[in-house]
């Protein structure tokens, strides 16, 4: 990790105090996942998505921008005008997407660094691959569209929130697209599928129980284009069998359709507002 010389870095090797608070074992945590009435801690069913709020036109300097809230997860995405691809000598027929995924330093329980760490870099790549099939890249040859996703608060499922939000921001920036992309995160723990996990649930899905290696665990992020019924990105980690994966595919494609209705409404509102404004003029 190169040292960031431009900023005063905090002392190295600090750790969260949470490590020294009495912690529950994995089994106990697992029991806390569901309340007695088979609902999750925030009152959802296992396959229920959190409530979502979307707004366009948050960043006035950007060509297009969107803000998305998914429970406590908050994301801002801004999209900038196409510009020439820097440091490139040959001509490319297709345009390029440049995606940057960043957690704000204060967004997670543990403080993040200003520089992108490997998780953020990986998420940037997935964000790019999720959007690429949907954008008409041939419409702006030799140009690059910059997409910046900033997570203000991370309460789980932040990558899928960023994908959905980036899609709204692209539509707002009137970047030509074949279809809208919506993404859903699924968590698998103890052979149960949880849709749209919170940070707590997501951590349970990522961490594994050493004593019980049989049960499935992991995270699945699916980006889906519902008009053309195409999955633009399917990213899974952990250890999951085929049966649970095929189940997750069908569940998440259905959920993507529901989210699409929501962002459709948001985009239509934006268009109508713009149309009214130009009529008044």
């Amino acid at each position: 990790m190169p040292v960031d010389l431009k900023r005063i870095n905090g002392p190295e090797n600090t750790v969260s105090y949470k490590l020294y608070t009495p912690s529950k074992t994995f089994k106990e945590e697992l029991k806390c996942l569901f309340k007695s009435n088979n609902k999750r801690q925030d009152g959802r069913n296992s396959l229920e998505h959190r409530k979502m709020f979307i707004k366009t036109g948050i960043v006035s300097q950007a060509k297009g921008s969107a803000y998305l809230e998914l429970g406590n997860t908050k994301v801002i995405v801004s999209v900038f005008d196409p510009r020439e691809i820097p440091n490139k000598t040959d001509y490319s027929q297709k345009g390029v997407l440049y995606c940057e995924f960043k957690y704000a330093t204060f967004s997670c329980p543990q403080r993040r660094n200003f520089q992108q760490d490997s998780e953020e870099k990986q998420n940037s790549i997935i964000l790019k691959q999720s959007l690429e099939p949907a954008v008409c890249l041939h419409e702006f040859p030799n140009f690059q569209v910059d997409i910046y996703a900033l997570i203000l608060e991370n309460d789980g499922s932040s990558l899928s929130a960023a994908v959905t939000c980036a899609c709204v921001a692209l539509a707002h920036a009137s970047v030509p697209m074949y279809d809208l992309v919506t993404a859903v995160t699924m968590g698998v723990v103890d052979n149960q599928i949880l849709m749209d996990p919170t940070l707590k649930e997501q951590q349970l899905c990522e961490v594994f129980d050493e004593t019980d290696t049989k049960s499935d665990h992991g995270i699945i992020v699916t980006s889906f284009m519902s008009t053309h019924q195409q999955i633009s990105q399917f990213y899974q980690t952990g250890n999951i069998n085929l049966e649970n994966i095929s189940k997750s595919i069908s569940i998440s494609t259905d959920a993507s359709g529901d989210i699409k209705l929501l962002i459709e409404k948001c985009i239509v509102n934006h268009v109508l507002k713009g149309a009214n404004k130009s009529n008044e003029e």
Binding site: P133, G218, S232, Y235, T237, G238, N239, I245
Partner: protein
Amino acid sequence: MALCEAEKTFILHSVEENFRIDGRQRGDYRPMELETNIVAPSFGSARLRLANTDVLVSVKLEIDSPTLEQPKLGKIEFFVDCSANATPDFEGRGGDNLATEISNCLSSAYKSSTAFDAGKLCILKGSKCWKLYVDILLLECGGNLYDAVSLAVKAALWDTRIPLVKSVVVDGNKVDMEVSDELFDCERLDVTGAPIMVTVCKIGDQCIVDPTTAEEHCSGGSVVVAVSKSNFSTILQTGGGSLHPMTLLESLKLGQTVAQRLDSTLINTLKQINDNSTDVGFLK
């Protein structure tokens, strides 16, 4: 690599006919060559040649302290080096993106304890553990990098010998260790669950495995699956295309069966290497 429309159509038809341009069927691999224990200064190494793809993997061991979050786990890190020898495209920082993609994919595939038990690398809980540096050097690129890299990594890890720790003495806050210096005083890593990655490439309406560079150019999208035993440890779509949910499911099934077949072949081969270990040089 530049292909004209006619060449692309030819490849498309060849896949359709289940008789690919090099005579293989859709589910067939190209011939592979595997050598282990070829880099003297490292603890384990392997070189895999898959037709035109050539990968060299070396494992180095060092002592580190475990993270506070996971005091019982050792560490494993993957570094991919896309040298400009492989293809001129990697010149300068050209290969950086590909390198991060492959190393990220590897680390997420090895993250699960069922795939790779990092607990075995722990020497003393909370203070001392082994750290594995897995260095992957791409010597030549002839398509299908993910598969070749994962096979070579598994072979190199299988070849890795960890020196025995003779004694650990805890004296207050200080930890004193004695590690054996004997050449054969070492133990092997258990890598039976180490994931095998398979790239399933969609060309036309069919899915193929082990694509050549030319076939990769004709693909409308591909899926990389990392399979450990029978479960998936990582799935990632690459190649800039999108897939129908049904196609995705089919490619996952294909990837799973192919990975299991590859895995058993690899383990058998590795066992044979152990039996008749005649010295063969790097360039033979």
